[in-house]
């Protein structure tokens, strides 16, 4: 009833919409999970990774050319 029956009717009543929900949900969750963990990881390792120091060297190389 209320919210739940609304959710049920929109997403799970029909097999095709249910499948679409599952696939899109998997896609979206994966995207959110990956970018979320990358964000945390990069924050813990701030300044340690190549992406953090790359700018110094890419610029130098361009100036030389």
């Amino acid at each position: 009833m209320g919210v739940y029956s609304g959710l049920y009717n929109t997403f799970f009543r029909q097999n095709t919409t249910m499948l679409a929900t599952v696939f899109l949900g998997a896609f979206g969750l994966q995207l959110a999970f990956d970018s979320g963990s990358t964000l945390i990881w990069n924050n813990i390792n701030k300044g340690r990774q190549w992406q953090d120091i790359k700018a110094k060297y890419v610029q130098n190389a361009e100036e030389e050319e």
Binding site: Q49, Y57, A61
Partner: protein
């Protein structure tokens, strides 16, 4: 009865035998080597990049690669590392290409079957300092400088051992130590006589990022670089490990919830026993 005597002595012998076997298996360890032959245990250093939530410090890797290239590469190969893996780790694409082009490699045979020379590409492997092991031995008084690609994994103590080895050469061998002709004293090397002399001295290289190049700084950087060359996947592996833990934790939470959900009717039901009515009298 003599059969009793045989049974008794067999049991006694079996018991003694078992005890002796246990003593041999679980008893005190036998050390065939003297402490000098084992080598001094390396100091445990608080390596930052070894922590489970830390990546390599790529600025240190870049310095370490410089040390490898300017010092160790004169004797040691690094033959599991192609230039392409350096891109995005310690070098930019342009730097790596430039470095690869400094060396010549064999081409595939052409139509006449001739093999020519071409400048290196990103897909080529870092060349070894010697043509083959025999040449390497001949140039190092019979001792072969081992390939360093997997050295951190190949020695007990890993990073700690190599750091201790590189920085552990005393000015003079201690009194009474026997050092063979052509060998150098290093307490961390099993046997204490190593064919590699001390190679790192303060100020040997000049770091582009201005870090003072003390011997311990260079040793630390090159060890971290060698750890990368042995485990180039470490950064990604650690990150992936945390993600696996997080996903497994979420799935575990869901499974706990589902179990409780399914069991809730069983756990909350109430069984009532209604005793039968007998003899016209009601019990209970």
């Amino acid at each position: 009865m003599w059969s009793n005597a045989i049974a008794g002595s067999t049991a006694t012998l079996a018991a003694i035998g078992t005890a002796y076997w246990c003593y041999l298996t679980f008893g005190p360890k036998a050390y065939a080597m003297t402490p000098a032959e084992e080598g001094l245990h390396p100091t445990q250093y608080p390596w930052e990049h070894v922590k489970l939530h830390k990546t390599f410090d790529h600025q240190a890797l870049r310095r370490g690669f410089q040390v490898y290239r300017e010092v160790c590469a004169a004797c040691h190969s690094l033959n599991r590392i192609p230039y392409r893996t350096l891109v995005g780790t310690v070098l930019t694409v342009d730097e790596a290409k430039e470095l690869a082009e400094e060396n010549e490699y064999d081409t595939d045979p052409n139509d006449e079957g001739e093999i020519e020379k071409r400048p290196g590409k990103l897909s080529d492997y870092i060349p070894a300092p010697y043509k083959n092991d025999e040449a390497a031995r001949a140039a190092n008084q019979g001792a072969l400088p081992p390939d360093l690609s997997l050295m951190v994994k190949a020695r007990h103590g890993g990073c700690n051992y190599i750091f201790s080895l590189l920085t552990g050469y005393p000015e003079e061998p201690p009194a009474g130590a026997v050092v063979q002709e052509g060998l150098n004293f290093n307490p961390y090397f099993p046997g204490t006589g190593i064919a590699m002399a001390r190679v790192l001295y303060d100020g040997l290289v000049e770091y582009e990022d201005g870090t003072p190049a003390t011997s311990s700084q260079m040793a630390k950087d090159v060890v971290e670089f060698l750890n990368w060359s042995a485990e180039p996947e470490a950064d990604e592996r650690k990150k992936m490990g945390w993600k696996v833990l997080a996903a497994t934790l979420a799935l575990w939470g869901i499974s706990v919830w589902v179990k409780r959900y399914k069991w809730s009717p069983v756990k909350t039901r109430k069984l009532v026993y209604n005793p039968p009515v007998s003899g016209g009298r009601k019990f209970g």
